[in-house]
Structure formats: C-alpha cells, structure tokens
C-alpha cells in the first residue's frame, strides 16, 4: 500500500501504540492534521498554547510510563513548545515532539514561520532529527521512540518540513520491527564485580541510609526498591522526584531530603556511614553545600547514566545499570549473605533517628480561622484517601504538596523538579486525567503559577477532563517572598500579586465550577463538596495565610545539618 508522508507519520504512531497526540495546528503541519483527521484510532487533544500541549503529554507520560506525543507547527508553534521540552528534559521524561518545518527548498531563506528547531532544541532534548525525505519518516520515528524510552529517558524532537508530508507524494510504507544504533547502547545490567563490592559495603554498614530518586519511578522499580529496603531494614529518604517510589506511610521512610527535606532525612544523610544512592543525581537542592555533604560516608551509586555518576559528588562504588536489573541481582545475594551484618549498630542508628523524628519538624502552628496551606494539603490527602494523582506548579505550594501529601504509590506525584516550570501543573493534570479518566486528579497550584497556563481550562472543558484545582492563594509569589524575607531583609521586590482576577468568575466563564474558601473551618466542607462533583472541574481558590513559609529549610551554601526549622 502506498501512503503519503502525513499518513505514514500517523501509521507510525499507531504502530507504537500511541492513543493520543496533544497539539496545535498551523501551516507546516496541515498535511499531517489532514491525515490525523481521516482516522479514529489516534485521538488528538487541541490545546490552547503549545506549552500546554507539551506539559499535557509530559503529565500523561509521568503517570503512565508511556511516551507522550506532541504535534506543533513550525516557527512560533515550535518555540512555544520549548519550555515544555526543557521541563521534560530536566526530569528525564520520554516525549516525542513532532514539529513542522518550512519546505526543504526554503530552509535557510528566512521563510515564513521558519526557525531552526533542531538548533533551538538541541541543548534541551535527548536527541533530535530533521527529516528531509519522506522515505526517512518511518525509520526516524522508530529511532525516536527507541531513544526516548530506553536508557535514561528524555524528549526527542522530530522536525518535519512541509514538503516531506506532501499528500501527492506516495511511497510504500513499512514500519521497522526493531532498530539498533551502533552509537547507542544503554547499559542495563550492572557489573557483577561492582555489585559484589557494593553489597559488601552495604551489609556491613553501621549507619546506612538509602537515598533514592526519580530514576526508581522512571525505571518502574519501586517494588524492587521496597523489597531491598525491607530486607535490610535500612532507613530510606526520597528526593522530590522520587516521592511514591517507597510508601510514605512506612515506618522506614524518613520523608523527603534536601532544601525542604525533613530534619530526620537530612540529619540521617549528614551522619550516615554508607550512603546508597539509587536513581538520584545529587542535585544541588539535595546536597546543599558540597564541601559539607555526607562527610563520613562511603557512597554506592546505582544509575543508568554514567554521566550522573561522580558528576557533583565523587562516589566510591559506582554501578551503571537499570535499577530494576541491579536490585534484582542484589536481592538474592544479600539474602545469601544473611542480610545486614551490624544489628546492634543498626538498632542504635534507629534510636538516633527516632530522636530526630521527635523534633516533629513538619508540625505547623494554626492561627484561628486563617487557612494554613499545609492543612489544606492534609485534608486533600484525607479526602482522596492518599490515592489521588497530584500534579503541582512551582513555589511554596509545591513544597507543601510534597511534604504533606504522603504518596504511597509511584507515578502519582507529578511535578517539575529540575526546571521548576511555573505553569506545569494544570496541563499536566489534564494529561493525567486523559490517561486515567476514572482516577481522582488534583492540581495543587498557586495564584501566580496557575496564571501561566490558565488558558488550558478551556481544553479541559472541550475534552471533559474534570480535574480538581486546589489553589493555595497567598496573594504572593510566595517562594520568592520567602527568600526576600530571609535573605533580602524583607525587601519584597515584585513578589506581591496585585490585581488578581476573581478566580471563581474566571472558572465559571470557562464553564467550570469556582469556589472561594476563606476560613479554616470551611476547608473540609468545601473539599468534600468539590470532590463529590465527580464530573465537573472545580477550581478551589483557598485564601491562605499570606506570609506562611516552607520549613525546614537548608539555606543556600549551608550543609544538610544546618537547617532552619521554624
């Protein structure tokens, strides 16, 4: 059968099992849209801004583990997508972003809506392609999916000039069953010798701690991680990206670590003798001052990307491989060796940890009927029985969501950690809801962030994606205000939100339900009412304490043991 380039592209998506594309049309991709229109298998969600499309695909990918797919036009369509692409890149999320390009004959001529997509996106993708011939579409798409989803995942951009999808040019279509690249062979299996060395260090530890991250979720290895931690009875902390990889309600869990991590997690890190890093990349928000980081620790690091190892912190036993495979190899060996070898030291270590826990660093003061943002998150957890998919934007509300919504399952906490992109939360929530229409999906946001992609409320109506928006409205760019309070003597330069819209009316004008909640005593009732409206998007505007801060906090330049507690 002979097909056009546009049709071939759609067939490639079908062959990869893609059920939805998030996108926005324009001149350079019209042939592709025409091909999409003439079939039903691959659905299309029309967004209101291309950044929203990429975040939606990203939310979809984070929740399902499958790659998200985006289709945008050339020029402004592609540049609008860049923030979303960079967001996915920093958090290693698999995406296929198809961008339109001007016809090959016009490339380089400053043609209408021409930008160098490959050049612009190069630093924020795992890889990108320019397809110059219709005969290359199928193999390029095969490679794109392969690269995006294997090894350390990431976004791949496929730039397609308009003439390459010309409906008058028909060629035979054949989708390759597999692909191999001589220049790309991600290591999956860990080195046996390194694994043995690591186990020796691990089982003989006296003050061990497991520090695990987003890699566990990306690699679908949370059950292996859980077995590993339980077998050893070692304390475990997660990064912001790793939350849910180990059940938060478990006794061995110390909470998140890092800048806004718990006292027990950060003290445990600082005083440990063996640090077991699993799928975490020693980000500066986690390590604090590198010179003061884990001063007494030997470090084991499991990561699929050799470049993550010894980048910021030099480690003693590196293991390159997928977490799933490495832990599967380790578990029987640890069992054979009889588990942890220092029971007395471990008992003393747990006693020390119990003392740190007694600081109850996440307790917060209530103040009459003023709504405390932490309280709202706690109530959302209660009402959704800790089982919702929670997306967030960026700022204080993000940290409160991370600290107070205890995630017991992986893939349920969806936020922009590496790039910290305000505007991520709402579109990401819509992407999740598209994947799981029967699940509860909550977007925790702030009045600043929500306005960066607010237009997607319209998409939510069109495609009937009834998520719940929990806006912790402190009338401040709160995270900025907090830094100004602590480090700029309270000079609040441009961190105050004036002229806010009436969010209730705004939600209503988009065809949704809006609620304003002003008193702590109304929080629970309002949440129950909102969550009872199963098939409506409800925008809850909580007027929270304007000057509440996120604690604990490790100030920039400090060590993890130097936290501000309240």
């Amino acid at each position: 059968m002979e097909l056009s380039g546009g049709q071939i592209l759609v067939e490639c998506l079908k062959a990869e099992g893609v059920d939805v594309v998030f996108g926005y049309p324009g001149g350079a991709v019209l042939h592709i849209y025409d091909a999409l229109f003439q079939q039903e298998q691959v659905k299309h969600v029309l967004v209101r801004h291309e950044q929203g499309a990429v975040h939606m695909a990203d939310g979809y990918a984070r929740a399902t583990g499958k790659p998200g797919v985006v289709l945008v036009t050339s020029g402004p369509g592609a540049t609008n997508a860049v923030t979303g692409i960079a967001t996915a890149h920093m958090d290693s999320i698999p995406l296929i972003v198809i961008t339109g390009q001007v016809p090959t004959t016009l490339i380089g001529n400053d043609a209408f809506q021409e930008v160098d997509n490959v050049g612009i996106t190069r630093p924020c993708v795992k890889h990108n392609f320019l397809v110059k011939d219709v005969r290359d579409i199928a193999i390029t798409m095969k490679k794109a999916f392969y690269i995006a989803t294997t090894g350390r995942p990431g976004p791949v951009v496929v730039d397609i000039p308009k003439d390459v999808t010309d409906p008058r040019v028909m060629i035979p279509f054949d989708y390759p069953a597999s692909v191999s690249l001589r220049s790309y062979h991600p290591t999956v299996k860990g080195h046996t010798g390194q694994i043995r060395k690591a186990i020796d260090l691990i089982i003989n530890a006296e003050r061990p701690i497991i520090y695990s991250g987003g890699g566990v979720i990306l690699g679908g290895a949370s059950s292996q991680l859980t077995r590993f931690a339980r077998l050893l009875n070692y304390p475990i902390t997660n990064t912001l990206m790793g939350l849910g990889a180990y059940p938060a309600s478990d006794r061995q869990f110390l909470g998140m670590l890092g800048m806004h991590g718990t006292y027990e997690a950060n003290m445990g890190m600082h005083h440990c003798d063996v640090l077991i890093a699993i799928g975490a990349r020693f980000d500066d928000r986690v390590t604090g001052n590198l010179a003061k980081f884990c001063p007494t620790a030997k470090i084991v690091h499991i990561d699929i990307d050799p470049a993550s190892i010894s980048k910021n912190v030099v480690v003693d036993v590196p293991i390159v491989g997928s977490i799933k495979s490495v832990l599967e190899d380790m578990l029987p060996l640890i069992e054979e060796a009889g588990g942890a070898k220092q029971p007395e030291a471990l008992t003393a270590w747990w006693a020390q940890i119990a003392q740190w826990r007694d600081m109850r660093c996440l307790d917060f003061k209530t103040n009459g009927d003023v709504i405390k943002p932490q309280y709202v998150v706690q109530k959302v957890w209660e009402i959704t029985q800790g089982d919702a998919y929670v997306t967030s934007d960026v700022g204080q509300h993000q940290m409160w969501a991370a600290q107070y919504y205890g995630f017991d399952k992986p893939n349920r906490w969806i936020n922009s950690g590496g790039l910290g992109t305000m505007g991520f939360g709402l579109p990401a929530a819509l992407g999740v809801k598209f994947a799981y229409p029967d699940e509860e999906v909550v977007c925790v946001t702030g009045e600043g962030s929500i306005q960066m992609c607010i237009q997607e409320l319209s998409t939510a109506l069109q495609y009937h994606l009834p998520v719940k928006v929990v806006s912790l409205n402190n009338r401040y760019l709160g995270m900025v205000r907090q830094w100004q309070e602590f480090f700029y003597s309270g000079r609040y330069a441009m961190s105050y939100m004036e002229a806010l819209p009436d969010f209730v009316k705004l939600a209503e004008s988009y065809g949704h339900v809006g609620m304003r909640i002003e008193k702590a005593s109304d929080v629970e009732g309002a949440l129950r009412e909102a969550f009872a409206m199963r098939d409506r998007l409800v925008f809850m505007d909580f007027q929270t304490d304007p000057t509440e801060n996120v604690y604990p906090m490790v100030p920039a330049g400090a060590g993890l043991n130097e936290m501000i507690l309240v």
Binding site: R122, P123, H127, I147, S180, R182, S183, P306, A307, S310
Partner: protein, 166 residues
C-alpha cells in the same frame, strides 16, 4: 592537564554543532577542534584538545559518549600516542632576516612552500609544542600570518580506533 580526545561520529548534518554546543553549554574549554571524513564515509573523525582536571575530563568523556551520534570516544592520554599538527606560517623575510628564517626553517624541518621578495611561507608539521618552539625561535622576526590545523592524534601500535562491536 591538556588532553587530546578523538571522537568517531555518525557523519550527519549537525554532528559538529552537537559537540560544540555541549562544550559551550557546560563551560568546557576547547583549545582546538578538527573534523574530517574517514575511510568509512558514514563516519567522521573529530579530534579536540581540551584542558581540565581529572574529574572534568571524565565528565567530558561521559558527556561526549552520551551524545546519540557519537560512536566512540578515546582519550589519547590513556595510551602511547603520536600527536601532530600542521602549521602554515608566513614570515617577513627581508635582506637581513632572509637567511635567518631559512636556517630556522631547516633546523625545525619546515618546508618553504612559497616565496616572495619580502616573505617566506613555511609549512611545518609536529606536535604542538614543537610548533610553539619554532614561533619562539623566530624571536623578533615579524610573522605576517599563521594558520594551524589544531592537533591530531593517533595511538601507537597495530590497533586502530574502530566502531565497537554491538
């Protein structure tokens, strides 16, 4: 430490910009960079000279390997190797300095490849430090123009840099 790094890459449009972009984005330094096709026309070979401590060089090599188009990376410092660079240099050669330039070129085994009334153009091949030594030796004699290829490196012994077996 100065390192010569050899890279085999897919001979695709934009391959060079991926390497150059990596170096500028991560703040690594490039002293010289040289790219040309190999016998296998699907590959191109890049030789670059950079500086950094051990940890930085290790990151550079890992980051290069991470580029999808990179087939193989080799740090020449890991094994005995030969370094060569080509320099074309146009030197003022007037009455009083003409003989001196000629003699220096001989000593450094350069070849005079172009002559005018007031200049000699010399071609010289060698490791970078030898070319630097020649420039030093010229002393006060004015240099009109200089072009250098950047260093190339090749390992000693029978084995070549090849595409790794899958």
């Amino acid at each position: 430490m100065r390192h010569i790094i050899s890279i085999l890459m897919e001979n695709e449009a934009g391959a060079l910009s991926r390497v150059a972009g990596l170096f500028s984005a991560r703040g690594y330094n490039i002293e010289s960079l040289c790219v040309a096709p190999t016998v296998d026309e699907t590959l191109s070979r890049m030789t670059l000279v950079t500086r950094g401590d051990e940890q930085i060089i290790e990151q550079i090599i890992k980051q290069l390997n991470k580029l999808i188009d990179v087939v193989k990376v080799q740090d020449m410092a890991d094994a005995p190797h030969i370094e060569r660079e080509l320099m074309l240099i146009k030197v003022q050669a007037l009455d009083n300095s003409r003989n001196e330039v000629y003699r220096l070129a001989e000593i450094f085994r350069g070849q005079i490849i172009d002559v005018s009334e007031s200049s000699y153009t010399i071609q010289m091949v060698g490791p970078g430090h030898k070319l630097d030594a020649f420039l030093n030796a010229l002393g006060a004699i004015p240099v009109v123009e200089i072009v250098r290829s950047g260093a190339l490196g090749i390992a000693r012994g029978p084995r070549g840099m090849a595409v790794p077996e899958a």
